[in-house]
Symmetry: C2
Subunit: 301 residues, 2 copies
């Protein structure tokens, strides 16, 4: 069987990563296009793909966005602070230009799919991918399919118990929630709490790391109890440049306190893991979305 | 098409509810058998079903239990405080006696399925059923299938932010977690906090109801963000005999604080609902498990 060239788009708030590649995870070309005005940006994206000869396109978009094909807004960006993008038909703008089968999901769901297809969640059917950077987002795969439901998970905003040592007070990094995970451990929260510092500058600060790891552990316990995943994968700049993942593992075990007895939990180092794939999980997930879209189109489903 | 008689078993820690009925939700016979010694209890259950002529059996079991068919312990009760039942092969004990296709899941997943098939989650594909009684449990349906993963959800034990007004201190009703939902709002927590009273005796106590509804609302926000369900259904004695569900709705909207903008959330009274089916959602879910098991058996999957 000859290889089918596929397209992948990671549509982010600051940049669009466009790529071509194959279902086996080989990336042929990869480029970045800055995110600006929606119409012009998507024209540039469509132009990039136009003569590549891709058989299908997989899109992982920033949220909130309508990922359920049954939704009347399917493929649109929803109520985002980036007002120019609000209700912009991201999927439609590419479909009409490129005329290939398209798969569409959130950026974090795509990253979860990338880890499940080629990375450290390979062979599993239920997994969570958590990214901690300027924001916090979670992609969730249940029984091999990405979770949508009413909209899609927004598990970066779950509410946590405030640590009494925390000085952040009412200055959470989330404009909506004084005590959500994103508001307590993402980049903006770190800057507010520690004098404009970045996560990597605090990596050796034991107290700071302990505070962040405690919040992360609370969230990981909630994900474990809610999703019953077979593995949780953590990425993003804050996690990649600090020891919070390894610090959080012990705290997860302590918080669960023996309540969940499974082979997975008894091997916590392989249950809660750092991401693999060198930051390519998003693009590889988009290639897999493209592969699935092409397969659906061939089988007429 | 002639009607196929199906069997249903709600296997609880204090009683076994056995029933026969049809896929359309008609219950023909229904009886209770007290839960005692595992072997004798399951013999009595098997005896009850033996000459009924059922084509398949659906079982909703108390947890923790192995519901993933790929698990080597599939059908067994796991690490339960009821030590006699620990690692008892509940599914196997019936399969060997009755020789019919069996569906097997948790009691709360079955109740969720019952509401999805015949009750207030009909027509939806992603829903949460929460029961608040002597314990708290959540059944979760994602895209039409009940959630399993590593084990099954244990979302009654998610950790919450303690209310500063709460006098429960370190006396949570959960032996594992000082601040989990079950430890804060189930029957034992209510008794400890309010001088051995039951939930229904406190239904007119505004402060008590406000405290409980606040915890419930925190949990509902977390479920909304994690599962992105199309509806959340609430049952169980504590919910049925107090106004906490209606009190929690406003608090959910306040806690979400405009972050999730969907038609569902904007109609919170139909998003968070009381259970329907007069306590029969569990048995009706088991009948649906039986129907699915029979269908799989016929189609050879």
């Amino acid at each position: 069987m000859s290889k089918t060239l596929l397209g992948a788009l990671e549509a982010g708030g600051t940049k669009m990563v466009v790529a071509t590649g194959y279902a086996d995870g080989t990336v042929v070309e990869c480029e970045e296009i800055p995110t600006g005005d929606p119409v012009k940006t998507m024209e540039a994206v469509a132009d990039w793909f136009r003569d590549k000869g891709i058989a299908a396109l997989g899109i992982g978009a920033f949220g909130p966005t309508a990922v359920n094909p049954a939704s009347p807004r399917y493929g649109q960006i929803l109520e985002t602070p980036k007002t120019a993008w609000r209700y912009f038909d991201l999927l439609g703008s590419l479909k009409s230009e490129l005329d290939v089968p398209c798969g569409y999901d959130t950026d974090v769901n795509s990253a979860c799919l990338g880890e499940a297809t080629h990375g450290c969640a390979r062979g599993l059917d239920t997994a969570v991918y958590l990214t901690i950077g300027t924001g916090v987002g979670a992609g969730v795969m249940i029984d091999g399919e990405l979770l949508h439901g009413m909209m899609h998970p927004e598990a970066g905003h779950i509410l946590l118990q405030l640590d009494p040592r925390d000085t952040i007070g009412s200055e959470s990094g989330c404009p909506y929630h004084p005590n959500c995970l994103e508001g307590l451990i993402a980049g903006p929260a770190i800057k507010r709490r520690w004098n404009n510092k970045q996560a990597d500058e605090l990596a050796d600060d034991g107290e700071a790391m302990d505070l962040l790891a405690g919040y992360l552990a609370q969230a990981l316990v909630i994900y474990t109890l809610c999703y019953s995943p077979q593995r949780i994968i953590i990425g993003g700049g804050v996690a990649d440049h600090t020891p919070i993942v390894s610090l959080a593992r012990k705290k997860v075990v302590a918080l669960l306190n023996g309540y969940i007895v499974t082979p997975e939990i008894s091997d916590i180092d392989t249950y809660i893991v750092e991401n693999s794939l060198d930051g390519k999980q998003g693009i590889l997930g988009c290639l897999e979305l493209a592969r699935r879209a092409q397969q659906r189109s061939v089988s007429g489903r």
